[in-house]
Amino acid sequence: MLEIKDLHVDLEEETKTILKGVNLSVEAGKVHAIMGPNGSGKSTLSYVLSGRDGYEVTKGSATLEGEDLLEMEPEERAAAGLFLAFQYPVEIPGVGNMTFLRTALNAQRKARGEDEMSAADFLKMVREKAKNLKIDADMLKRPVNVGFSGGEKKRNEILQMAVLEPKMCILDETDSGLDVDAMKLVAQGVNALRDADRGFLVITHYQRLLDHIKPDVVHIMADGRIVKTGGPELALEVENNGYADILTEVA
């Protein structure tokens, strides 16, 4: 599904290398988690994959089902099936949540040569998906993320994921700023989307999210590289001993 090979990335504005040769392969139907200390490059990886400005790829490749992601505009990556759940979802005053969702869905369908979804079908589909995430009609009507609580913003990200049905989902610290109940709700939303054709890459600081979204593979990232890969037990090791032991061990 997602293949990242020897990915090197610099910041555009300053001469600073953030990613120093990332290798990662996420298969369809699997959940991979990336953990790592602050500044290890986890969020940068998610931004580079989704096409945010400000980064320069100096070496390596990233493909989604064989298609070169790095050559695509952000909207083309989305249409190809890539989805990033933002760590800090952006507030867009003046654009209604429903308008936003519908514009996004139909733009993707159009880009894939599919028919646009009718207003009635769309409304029915969104209402049902929103219900599962406890997103009420008022939240759907309000401008995108404006005045939403931290939990509401993250639930709104998952709603977008549910509506857009991407092939490859990247969750960037989706647990940050969430209380336990909110985290459970978000995790349920993600788990409902797990299926054999969809891949997940879950970026997190803490093991606790992984109690609710059970990963198949856990990677530890440090200083711009993936330094260790293992099963779910690796997350528990981090939880118990911190990153220091692992980093010493691989150094």
């Binding site: 249409a79 933002f86 867009i92 996004a104």
Partner: protein, 427 residues
């Protein structure tokens, strides 16, 4: 204070080319307007209120030519059930207009305001314009009162079932037009007035609106189409107790537009909202000059002006809230913002507050900015192509102004116009 020689000679030169028309029972008002104009002189670049907008082409004797908009785009409000009053290059056209009778409103052509039958408009023509000359002079409004060749008087006595649409079509590339309308909304009455059309190569329009206690008037206007047209408009409104006035203007295209709006809240608990959404591309200069005076207790005023400018377009906002002594519990709000789509465009703003009462809440803000990059990336990351995402954010920027239109169908009509305008300019 005597006029300087240059101003005096410019004014007299212009006046020498013009003849005061004999229209309706307005001769006296026209002569006094002429007197006011001679005392003020026509505006020049050195005048405080014309610093940001060159008045030259509005003042010169000959109107610069303006070609006619060649496009099959349907004029705005076409699908609205309305009473049409059509002026072709400033001349009322009965054939293109609807029958002027409508329940709840009396509409007359200005020339039918006869001195012998004591027409209500006789006392209003030029009166609010005269009041509106202090503390800021508006010589082009006095010029209008003196020289307006046509116009209508509208007296709202009830609640007409459909809006009154003043339509100004433009056929003559050199037309130089003065129109003057007088509106009175009687106590408890309510109406909507729509205005649209390019009107002329050079258009000078004045509308005086007197709203009695408990009256309500909605005013929605669209200025668009012809790229080379020039316009200066004045709106003078006086609001009685518990009356409501809501005015919205969409401006697109036009090489020069100056919209002056002068509102006086004279009765307690009155509400006045003026809003404008303007989109400019290239050789485009748009000026909103607004003056709201609070002269009664517990009144509310809002000024919401948003401008989207690209390819070197210029936007101007001069907005003032004056709260007179005794106008306690005033709630005044003013916002003027521009979205600059490139570095060649500019926005010049002069927000002013002048407050002589001590128990008031007045806020104002003015900003210029570019498209929000974070928002743009967020939309694109969800699959929305850059051009569509930019338009969506641009419409969102304009939304606060457009939302001042209460009627949903009219609001959507205006939004559709703005969306179409942006879509035609996608790269």
């Amino acid at each position: 204070m005597a006029l300087d020689d240059r101003k005096h000679s410019t004014t007299e030169e212009r006046l020498a080319t013009m003849t005061v028309p004999d229209v309706g029972c307005t001769a006296q008002a026209r002569q006094s307007a002429l007197g006011r104009l001679r005392a003020m002189g026509l505006p020049s670049r050195r005048d405080e209120y014309w610093k940001f907008t060159r008045p030259d082409t509005l003042v010169q004797s000959q109107a610069p030519e303006a070609s006619i908009f060649a496009d099959d785009e349907k004029p705005v409000f076409t699908d609205v059930d309305r009473l049409k009053i059509v002026f072709v290059d400033g001349v009322f056209d009965p054939a293109l207009s609807d029958d002027l009778s409508l329940s709840g409103v009396e509409i007359d052509r200005l020339e039918d305001v006869c001195c012998t039958d004591d027409h209500w408009a006789e006392d209003l023509y030029g009166t609010l314009e005269t009041k509106g000359q202090t503390p800021v002079e508006r010589p082009l409004a006095a010029l209008n009162t003196a020289f307006a060749g046509d116009g209508v008087t509208i007296r709202v006595t009830g609640k007409p079932t459909k809006p009154i649409n003043l339509i100004y079509t433009h056929e003559d590339e050199t037309s130089d037009v003065f129109l003057h309308h007088v509106v009175r909304v009687e106590s408890g009455a309510e109406a909507t007035i729509l205005e649209n059309g390019p009107a002329a190569a050079r258009f000078n329009k004045c509308i005086e609106i007197d709203i009695a206690d408990g009256g309500t008037l909605h005013h929605i206007r669209a200025q668009g189409r012809d790229h080379k047209r020039r316009a200066v408009t004045h709106l003078f409104a006086q609001l009685g107790r518990e009356s409501v006035f809501k005015s919205f203007t969409l401006t697109a295209n036009g090489v020069l537009t100056r919209n002056e709006c002068v509102i006086e809240l004279t009765g307690d608990d009155a509400v006045a909202h003026v809003a404008g959404a303007c989109v400019g591309d290239g050789d485009f200069h748009h000026d909103d000059t607004v003056f709201v005076t609070h002269d009664a207790v517990n009144c509310e005023s809002r000024q919401v002006f948003k401008k989207v400018l690209r390819n070197g377009a210029t936007g101007v906002f001069q907005g003032k809230i004056l709260v007179k002594a005794g106008a306690q519990k005033t709630d005044g709000y003013q916002i003027s913002q521009s979205l600059l789509l490139d570095e060649d465009s500019q926005f010049l703003a002069k927000p002013e507050l002048e407050i002589y009462a001590d128990d008031v809440a007045c806020s104002h803000g003015s900003t210029s900015g570019a498209i929000d990059e974070e928002g743009l990336f967020y939309l694109r990351a969800r699959g929305v192509p850059k051009a569509i995402a930019t338009d969506l954010l641009t419409l969102a920027f304009l939304a606060e102004a457009v939302e001042e239109i209460e009627d949903e169908a009219l609001r959507e009509e205006i939004n559709g116009r703005l969306a179409g305008w942006l879509e035609r300019r996608r790269g």
